[in-house]
Amino acid sequence: DQQVKQNSPSLSVQEGRISILNCDYTNSMFDYFLWYKKYPAEGPTFLISISSIKDKNEDGRFTVFLNKSAKHLSLHIVPSQPGDSAVYFCAASGWGQGAQKLVFGQGTRLTINP
């Protein structure tokens, strides 16, 4: 089941530069997309989300872009900081009231080099 795919298992970026993490999905029923960050021995921490009616959502250093026609989303982190080093998961679900199960990608390990 590859409904949500993160094709880059790892990414290394210089501190201060932009980090771009990518995610593709196949299920047209997905209406809500989220990025989570995970440190070792901790649970996923919510970062930012976007609904399918938007193509961009920004929160501080984090911006998520959604291209519905390409079924692709990306997370931009700028400027990247050493504390951003973690595994980043893309997740997708339906939208609306009611419990919505999340479908996760495999994760991308981001390393920020000083």
Binding site: A41, E42, G43, T45, A91, Q97, A99, L102
Partner: protein, 114 residues
């Protein structure tokens, strides 16, 4: 900031034994979830729960699994007769009623079946 708490952080159990994983969701949340992550694999949805009923469950969530909200604060996952392949990190999550609200995760219970 309110958080989801899970106990124990690590559970070691003999194959065939019953195990109960415990979670205290965020207090004003009404949707509850269990996910698991086998080492090296994706985070996978197990079950969602609302109003004292299962809303949705995955194929993984067979008759050996059950969930319960025994009181106003706890949410538990029981595995009746554990198998070696149940070894994984189990994450509890919760979200509130409003559409488009993210799920917030606990730090997980590492379940090791011997």
């Amino acid at each position: 900031e309110p958080e989801v708490t899970q106990t124990p952080s690590h559970q070691v159990t003999q194959m065939g034994q019953e195990v109960i994983l415990r979670c205290v969701p965020i207090s004003n949340h009404l949707y509850f979830y269990w996910y698991r992550q086998i080492l090296g694999q994706k985070v996978e949805f197990l079950v969602s729960f609302y109003n004292n009923e299962i809303s949705e469950k995955s194929e993984i969530f067979d008759d050996q699994f059950s969930v319960e909200r025994p009181d106003g604060s706890n949410f538990t996952l029981k595995i009746r007769s554990t198998k070696l392949e149940d070894s994984a990190m189990y994450f509890c999550a919760s979200s509130d009623l409003r559409a488009g609200q993210p799920q917030h995760f606990g730090d997980g219970t590492r379940l090791s079946i011997l």
